[in-house]
Symmetry: C2
Subunit: 127 residues, 2 copies
């Protein structure tokens, strides 16, 4: 399976998880190919709205560019949503972009960092 | 241009209009092909969230199915968004699904009904 198909499958996995947890959720069309900032997923219920960038490409670490993080923050501010980065190692972790230190980590998230700084899916939906 | 491409172009036109009006907006991936209810567009700012079903296929009238309207309402309730139906005749009109009378109109919206019951784009964003 190529990287793009893997990414789409990972996003679909999260879509199912959110619906099962009573959050409406869908994938954005052309995320990464429009001129506007756009997250991979939008999630919501009557109380909360989440904009999520999904990263599953690496095995040892997930690499994020400054542009991806900036656009996630920009979209979230404008739309009125919490910005989250979803990374999958053995399980899913959800990180707040503010918790990722650019200079320290160069936006490369290891499994250890994800566990230390991230929330599990259950923690996220009960946050 | 086929109907699907026309629909995509119409959705993109609205995406541009909303960003220009300082609303974040994007198109859903696979709207109509997932097992979950999903609008064509999601729009938001810090105050409002809109879920929009876009209809541009007909010249004389825009036809909506009961399933489309039910799913739009279902998604909007769950996500926490205002449900809107966007139809384009000479210009765009935005209708509240509650304002469309199934028995009277059989969910077929004429230009006359759109003008009488719908909001213009400017009315919608200042609603």
């Amino acid at each position: 399976m190529n990287t793009k198909a893997k990414g789409t499958n990972a996003e679909r996995e999260l879509v199912h998880m959110f619906w099962k947890a009573n959050f409406a959720c869908f994938r954005a069309a052309g995320s990464g190919s429009t001129k506007y900032p756009c997250p991979d997923l939008i999630v919501g219920n009557n109380i909360r709205k989440l904009a999520i960038e999904v990263k599953i490409s690496g095995k040892e670490y997930q690499h994020l560019t400054k542009k991806e993080i900036d656009e996630l923050k920009q979209f979230s501010t404008m739309f009125g949503a919490e910005p989250w980065i979803a990374v999958k190692f053995d399980e899913w972790f959800f990180l707040n972009p503010e918790d990722i230190n650019e200079t320290e980590l160069n936006y490369s998230i290891t499994g250890e960092i994800a566990q230390r700084k991230g929330l599990s899916f259950n923690d996220l939906i009960n946050f």
